[in-house]
Amino acid sequence: MANWQPVTRRRSRGAAILSGPGGEFHFEGMSDGLYMYEVQKPAYTLDQSASGMFTIPRSSGDEAIVVKLTALSAIEGKVVNQYDEPLENVVLHLYAVDIRDGEKTANDVGIHWTDDRGMFHASHLNPGNYLVKVVSMRGGTETHFGPYAMRYAPWEGFSPVYFGGATDIASAAPIPVAAGARVRTDFRLEVQPAFKIRGQVKGYAPPNAVTFELLRGDDQAEPSRAVLDVTTGKFEVLDVVPGSYRLRAAQENTRGEVTVNVGGADVDGVFVALQPAAAVRVVMRSVGGRADVLRPNSCVLWLRQRWYSDTVHNMRGEGNGKFSVDDLFPGQYEVRLQCFGAYIQSASFGGVDLLTNPVLTIPSDGPSPPIEVEYIPGGGTLKVNVADPLLQQGAVLVTPAFSASTGPALQANSRGLQGQNFFQFSNLAPGDYLVYGLPRADDAEFRNPAFLRTLSGGANVHIEDGKTAEVTIGSVSK
């Protein structure tokens, strides 16, 4: 325990000391009063006991303050090819996966790359579940003022892959990482001859770099290695193994995408035009509602790319109930809506009913229709009583009754009970609901229709505007 040296301090007077070799610490000469303390040590996380308060003088029954630190974890490994040669400059992306807002979410926790021994090392990780993905070669876009340097020619490449062998985020198996563990994730990549995609990009602003990415499915990509002659817009994307891709070129607020199929040879003459990002208008309307409903009430809307927590686009107010969501490029976004003091009557985008299918598709040609939301102040209240003590550490899920064909609706809600024996949901749209008791609050994937279909034994309840319904859940739902 020689390196057990947390800094301990009391804030009110500003004292800090290093703990001794046995982890012990003493503050002396303290005047009477209430103190706060906090402990730090690199590569350790603060346990709940690592900060707190105490009073001086200490009562006779008081014990010494004992602080528990949890060691942070590490993921490390070696990347080799099929000949067991180490691969250098391989970029790895780490994601922490958990369920947020009812959906499996990948949170970016860092990018690493291998050294000449093929080794990488990611540290200071909280215990949890992780994905490790080998993505690309390190380097990004090299920008040149002329064609003379369009020439680097690596001969081998590989396809992105997750640890465990999956090739897309939906089928990748999370790696459990315990507190203080050093988890080894070695990769043996099948390298194969790589080719170039050559072409020309239009609509960029020289002399700044353009980023090139090869996209496969819904996965986020890392910038590929590429060279760009900014005087002409001619580019080469390197390290491309045979396959079908969307090639994306991006610069600040512009982006272009094109589909490219690579067989056993270089691909020439690929043309990518960069277009500015678009804004989508949002019209929020309050329609009717009872006179006795408290005002003001409002709704918020945000969009994000499925899986990735760092892709959220929030709406921006323009006054008069008009809003917009900015910086959107063609593609699919998940829609999230939440109302305060009101419930949603309808939400649509062009002809799409966002309540049954909360996915927005921004067209690549032409302007987008607005998102139109109608909400009604008020709604009904549901009080859920919990009889099973197991559920007091769990959660209650309230979901509109749905058929398998329509999928789940947006207003699904789940809240941790935190030791209470009842929970109240307000501003629910009138209608029929199913109420489930769940053993844990943090792993209910309630936005996933497949998860909802696994539930059984829910209690039926009917909600009316302005009234409170009550239901009792006797046991954990299966």
């Binding site: 800094v7 500003g14 800090a16 540290s123 070669m137 020619a153 690596p154 081998e156 005087t231």
Partner: protein, 517 residues
């Protein structure tokens, strides 16, 4: 004579469309001379589409291509270089094919990258987390020998750091860091007050020197891997205090030691909130740089015996803007023109594109010495410069605190070209350095030009400002052709040439030696 025959054959070849020439050889490891398999060899830049092959175990490659001038590349592992390169970053030699050329016995030497691994420990042999290990390389680039920083690697929680995929060459390493609890300002102050004399680690040049003059040059040959461990010890010296009496000072202040080759090596950074102090700074020459909001400051000072107080009195961040005027009013731009701002000391360049009204702007410029140049397909150069707001010495602008520099660059297209061959009797000499040096002994390095000869011994200076020059060739690819001091001894025996406007001169020459006094 030779040129006209070549031109004639080129016409014949293109009309016949069938005549091809063989480019063939072997890729070998530069150190062991062993043939290299699994290497992609590429022939590019000529009149036909790029071609590539992957070598088998015997390292051999072969292409059949039309007459032309090509770049030959070899990429092995994740490291590529072109024919005639001795290091990545320096120049190469083109492969010239034609009826008079034998390009069938090419030996392509691939230089394996080097790597540096190490562990950073403190005085009690505990790993130092977050230590900054800066790597410097000494090399000739653009005809000048410089030591430049390649950046900083950070040690992990086990104290390990690494540098890899770097070419062989001459390197220096410097490490610095601080105890982990220093990152918390509150804890740092409290611990310092407790009288435990807690000081940051001293800036340490590998293997253990605090003075940059004692730094060891690390000569790494291709394929070598160096283990370079550091032990960082608490620094000792003076306190450098920061004082801020007349400004908000909401930014951050960094302290640099003037180190290798005059480079500023980072000692530490504070958040610039007074009162702040860099404790235990050893004697030497230092630079404090403050940046915050739209303001900056640079102050050079010496640390000797006692404590030093630096008054932070920032001024607005320097700006540089201007326009380009064509020396010949009938000149027009057909392609984008770029304005380059190069730091004279570090060689770092920032480029902006010339606007539609021929104006340009660098909205934030470091307090530094800079040189301006033009680039673009059209081939204009700066023939005259008028500067307001900065003093100019030998074409170098001295950007001081708060400077608002206005520049008018005269752009001239009055260039000529010069081609030729370096010969030893009848035999062409490839991969030697041809120098076209200012005949007036200019002190501006931009008045000196270098060309590494191609496989047929040819050189080709295009777009060189008209004027008088001296031409000579040396068998040294690291020759500092842009250093007037190094060039001077060669001028007497060189060939005087006048580069005429739009002229296309041809010269043939042998290798030169410096004049003996």
């Amino acid at each position: 004579m030779k040129t006209s025959i070549v031109a004639l054959v080129a016409i014949l070849a293109s009309t016949a469309g069938a005549q091809s020439f063989r480019v063939a050889g072997i890729v070998v490891d530069s150190e062991t001379a062993a043939p290299l398999g699994r290497t992609r060899v590429v022939l590019t830049g000529g009149p036909v589409q790029e071609q590539s092959v992957i070598t088998t175990g015997n390292g051999k490659f072969s292409f059949d291509v039309p007459q032309g001038k090509y770049t030959l590349l070899a990429a092995h592992r994740d490291f590529g270089e072109s024919y005639g390169q001795t290091r990545s970053g320096n120049s190469d030699s083109a492969i010239v094919t034609g009826p008079d050329q034998d390009t069938t016995g090419i030996v392509m030497r691939w230089h394996a990258p080097v790597a540096i691994h190490g562990k950073v420990l403190d005085e009690s042999a505990e790993p130092v987390y977050g230590a900054q290990v800066e790597l410097f390389v000494e090399a000739v680039t653009g005809g000048k020998r410089r030591i430049i920083s390649l950046g900083r690697a950070e040690s992990d929680e086990l104290g390990n750091y690494s540098w890899s995929s770097i070419p062989g060459g001459t390197y220096y390493l410097a490490a610095t860091g601080e105890p982990w609890y220093f990152s918390d300002r509150y804890a740092r102050d409290a611990l310092t007050e407790a009288g435990k004399s807690i000081v940051p680690y001293g800036l340490t040049y590998f293997p253990g020197a605090n003075d940059p003059r004692d730094a060891t040059a690390l000569s790494l040959h291709p394929g070598e891997e160096l283990q370079a461990d550091f032990t960082l010890r608490p620094a000792s010296g003076s306190n450098v205090r920061l004082s801020c009496t007349n400004a908000p000072c909401g930014g951050s202040t960094s302290l640099f030691a003037l180190g290798l080759g005059g480079l500023e090596a980072l000692v530490g950074t504070t958040n610039g909130v007074e009162p702040d102090v860099f404790p235990a700074v050893p004697p030497g020459r230092y630079v404090a740089r403050y940046t915050g909001g739209d303001e900056s400051m640079r102050k050079a000072f010496d640390v000797g015996g006692g404590d030093v107080t630096i008054e932070i009195a920032p001024k607005p961040v320097p700006t540089l803007a201007g326009r380009v005027a064509f020396q010949n009013p009938t000149d027009r731009l057909r392609h984008p023109m770029y304005v380059n701002l190069q730091d004279e000391d570090t060689g770092q360049t920032v480029t902006v594109v010339l606007g539609a009204n021929r104006s340009f702007s660098f909205p934030t410029v470091p307090i530094s010495r800079v040189r301006l140049s033009l680039s673009g397909v059209d081939g204009f150069f700066v023939s005259k410069m008028s500067v307001e707001g900065a003093s100019v010495t030998n074409g170098v602008l001295d950007i001081v605190e708060g400077a608002k520099v206005q520049v008018i660059l005269s752009a001239s297209g009055e260039t000529g070209s010069l081609k030729g061959f370096v010969m030893d009797g009848d035999k062409p000499i490839p991969a030697v350095m041809v120098v076209l040096a200012s005949a007036e002994g200019s002190t501006n390095p931009n008045d000196y030009h270098g060309y590494q000869t191609d496989s047929d011994g040819s050189f080709d200076f295009a777009g060189v400002p008209a004027g008088d020059y001296v031409l000579f060739a040396v068998d040294n690819l690291d020759f500092e052709y842009a250093n007037p001091e190094v060039v001077r001894p060669y001028l007497a025996r060189g060939k005087r040439v006048r580069m005429k406007l739009n002229g296309a001169e041809t010269e043939s020459l042998g290798l030169s030696r410096p004049a003996q006094n």
